[in-house]
Symmetry: D2
Amino acid sequence: MTIHIGLIGTGRIGRLHAANLARHVPGAHLAAVVDVNRASAEQAAREFNVPLVFENIQDLISRPEIDAVVICSSTDTHAPFIIAAARAGKHIFCEKPIALNLPSIDTALQAVAAHGVKLMVGFNRRYHSNFKKIRELIAAGKIGRPYLVRITSHDSKPPPIEYVKVSGGIFLDMTIHDFDMARYLLGDEVTELYATGNVLVDPAIGAAGDVDTAVVVMRYVNGAICTIENSRQAVYGYDQRVEVLGSEGALSSSNEYPDSVTHHARDGVHSSPTYFGFTDLYADTYIAEMTAFVDSIEKNTEPPVTGKDGRVPLVMGLAATRSLREHRPVRLDEIQ
Amino acid sequence: MTIHIGLIGTGRIGRLHAANLARHVPGAHLAAVVDVNRASAEQAAREFNVPLVFENIQDLISRPEIDAVVICSSTDTHAPFIIAAARAGKHIFCEKPIALNLPSIDTALQAVAAHGVKLMVGFNRRYHSNFKKIRELIAAGKIGRPYLVRITSHDSKPPPIEYVKVSGGIFLDMTIHDFDMARYLLGDEVTELYATGNVLVDPAIGAAGDVDTAVVVMRYVNGAICTIENSRQAVYGYDQRVEVLGSEGALSSSNEYPDSVTHHARDGVHSSPTYFGFTDLYADTYIAEMTAFVDSIEKNTEPPVTGKDGRVPLVMGLAATRSLREHRPVRLDEIQ
Amino acid sequence: MTIHIGLIGTGRIGRLHAANLARHVPGAHLAAVVDVNRASAEQAAREFNVPLVFENIQDLISRPEIDAVVICSSTDTHAPFIIAAARAGKHIFCEKPIALNLPSIDTALQAVAAHGVKLMVGFNRRYHSNFKKIRELIAAGKIGRPYLVRITSHDSKPPPIEYVKVSGGIFLDMTIHDFDMARYLLGDEVTELYATGNVLVDPAIGAAGDVDTAVVVMRYVNGAICTIENSRQAVYGYDQRVEVLGSEGALSSSNEYPDSVTHHARDGVHSSPTYFGFTDLYADTYIAEMTAFVDSIEKNTEPPVTGKDGRVPLVMGLAATRSLREHRPVRLDEIQ
Amino acid sequence: MTIHIGLIGTGRIGRLHAANLARHVPGAHLAAVVDVNRASAEQAAREFNVPLVFENIQDLISRPEIDAVVICSSTDTHAPFIIAAARAGKHIFCEKPIALNLPSIDTALQAVAAHGVKLMVGFNRRYHSNFKKIRELIAAGKIGRPYLVRITSHDSKPPPIEYVKVSGGIFLDMTIHDFDMARYLLGDEVTELYATGNVLVDPAIGAAGDVDTAVVVMRYVNGAICTIENSRQAVYGYDQRVEVLGSEGALSSSNEYPDSVTHHARDGVHSSPTYFGFTDLYADTYIAEMTAFVDSIEKNTEPPVTGKDGRVPLVMGLAATRSLREHRPVRLDEIQ
């Protein structure tokens, strides 16, 4: 059984998914690409041997042979495209976030539910070998009851300031991945959080109304406490680590390196920096998440990252934004 | 020049200092030991070849040949003994904390100032090779402007519940070392903090009115943000690490291990656990701090850990206690 | 410019090269597969979208549109296929070893030279990021003059005994990769070696006239000394490391691991075993070497692993075999 | 019970043992120091509170209250002092090597046997936590049957050329520690070895008739193969590591570092160099061996490093010297 997929949005992340669908995802056939920029869509079609090219999502979802869509267009289109695809009976993979406000998300999730299609959200980090293993070891009880979770998540350099201005703020743009990670690792929900932050990397980020350095402290239902640390700039590379302390031990992951060569010199021991870009570090995770999406269609099972998994991190991001603004801890049930 | 020292309190930490003064601190002569428990004092005197034994601090400080005292008795005696020693013109090394309330500390510091004696407070961790090196590298500008500081500080197992009841709470008893570390690493002052905590290790600690798991988030004058993570129990050993992210790079320390043997087996790679007790990990720091104290007397310089360094962490501990109780961020200038 | 390639031999390594040629090597088109087992060839053709399938190499090399062949058939066919392909004017990539005797190699190399085609030999390990980096750092003078080289190279488990019997012995089958590595790392030639070995893993290997544990000590022209350690069995995984000590420092590489998660438990620190199979560890190297081969055709440059590079390790293997048998150091110029 | 000890030779290693005997070895009393240089002996006596000072060993061993001697004088005096002390009924700790020729050793061992005193030889590295643990894990069967042993042992810089000239050559001076380690780790005897070496560090060492870079390959009775690598110069520090591969796994040790701080910078990851001097790395081993010596006297047990343990490494050193000179493998039973 082959799943025929139409990919919407042939920008950076769209082309990455296209390459994986064309080469690395068993059972998937990349049947169409869509982009308002037709030249971009056509170039992707050539590169990945895609038979159909459209400028308009309606042309895609009206094709009966299309089983599923992969939405990689700009964030503001996610919710309307989900609704359109759901109405057309297409299964949906959507890049995160579904939207930057809850009403849009809720409307989209209602459409998905009403039309009985599958929706998977692109929290690809869940598929990294480190985080997957830590979740599995926790679930297997290897460290007993969790006490403390720590997520270190730094970009190597800040995004362009024009991007920052429309990003929704650090908590909705960057921390949202870590909010998902916090839930994923423990399989538990957060009830309250406190966020603090500052402008230390670039005053222009502050002028845009955002912070570039942030710490969020969260409490889980089960009582464990999670800390997320974010910086928009870690000059030594993309820094992505977690630690979990529990009653019976601890788990920690370290970054990965392009080689394991050590240079022993008079002045000390030296080795290569870690990766600087997210596509280097997370390349395999994009293949794995898309494989899981196709697999859930083939086997008619629930996708492993659900609509709820797309909604809750946004609630957390909104709570963190309010906490920072109001300078107090905020309960998640304050966010409607 | 030999500094003649009288040591007060021959319990665990007192005997540790006595052994170092007798064997490892150049220029020091352990001339007397004092303990209300005379048998304990006499046993220490035999073990470390100490000529004088007293039950009473007055007998010690009335001896003109005594240059300095090392106060290792119970916390409630620290302030009165500092005052008595200062009046007698003796230099003073005092174990942390000076007291659990600010008025006692301030009275003691006034006595020290009035009598022109030296006072050094026992924040021994400053002398660990890792933390010392990180402070030095930061001060040398190796990582540029500091963004984020993280202090991981877990005991291997909780203290006896009777101790917990009189400890003043986790922030005054355990975190106080980390508050000192936070100031030491950056050479900057904290302006505000938010503390959260929970009872996850042992319900008896909760019944005693304390928490056993805590996270404190703090802001420095220079804008950097520091996170302290504390657990009363880390079953894999005494976990003492720091990380500092700055504009030009990051510094991190790892725990130390009794050997560096790796066992490569079918099921993975295995190595020894870290140390479980603080005296294993910090043995050298006790020698180094006492050497620094004796050195400051010999050279008539200011001790490297001052009375202010003893006072500020208590302010931070009181602020954290209030933050936890009042469930809000607390500025340090709220604490009088 | 597209290089049209015919692949000969669709066994394990052949299919690996086929997958890479079909998906990962820019500028290559896998135009034909050849196998005496037609069913195997046809299956590979289906899997990798290969238009032409043959049972016979003559059918392949008679096709004018074929630019190059990739020889992955059994060792005894390597030399005759090289000769046939050279005569047909096809460029050649050949799996190691070219042959197990020098006359066959020399005849093949003469045919290559006579017909002016390119020949590259499949010493893929040269393309591993660790070994490549070490060679580059040595060539850049980072460790000054080399003193000592050490190559650790253990299989995770012995090959089938039937394979051992026809393998030519451990030095021609397994150490040959390390002989190439020894030359590659330093860019220097070996003049003499001493080999010792024993049967410790499996008596059946001894019964087949081979050893399963071996050490080879070699001297380079420049005076440095190299040690190769081989075991047919390392139960903890495929162990592939090098170290080089020089006048100005040292370089070392460690194994790689499928994740970087550390489990801190009461009884110590635990992490995942390294990879067990060579295709896991060296997956990227097969892509890189084939890319380099195609690139050398496109740009008409000398392939980076030459016929001489295929010949010398066999000389070393024969010298090691003689050293072991005659229980004495053997000069390479003793081998004709 | 206190063991009264006279220490002979107050040079560098003698003063190190004196400090340990005076401060760190329970049950030992350093009662006398002897040195032909009286000023040196007197200075040591003052520093370590030693009551008796002699210029002549006879004055020491004639004192009935002396239980044992610690011989730290020059190598040529070891055997005669052992004989003199044995005749006087004193237990003996002797620095390695006992002598540089077998007849001297054998005469000394005969005297020890004839007079029923204890003799322990100063192979201190046996007491390093890494090597001790590896031996214990091997003895406990954790890696099954040993296949391959590797000992890396490099000095940070060559000794003065005057020392090299009288050292007996690298195998008797430097490798002798590694020969002992080879026996210690496996608890097995070597039957044959092959040594090769070169002058790469300093031509003056070659002019003195020695090599500065060496590899020794050895076979054990049980069939395992051991490789020792030696360089007189490792500019990045004193490099002391071992690896053992066995049928059920492997053990390896790494060097130790003065701190565990990692600096993550744009150009890579940096940390401190290892120790440069043997007294830094092996400080604890000197205390442990002396404690074991005193303990064996107190408990009347055999010392853990026997006269045979002092003799066999010399046989190995002589065999290696011959192997290098004669350019062939040498059996240990060739050395008489």
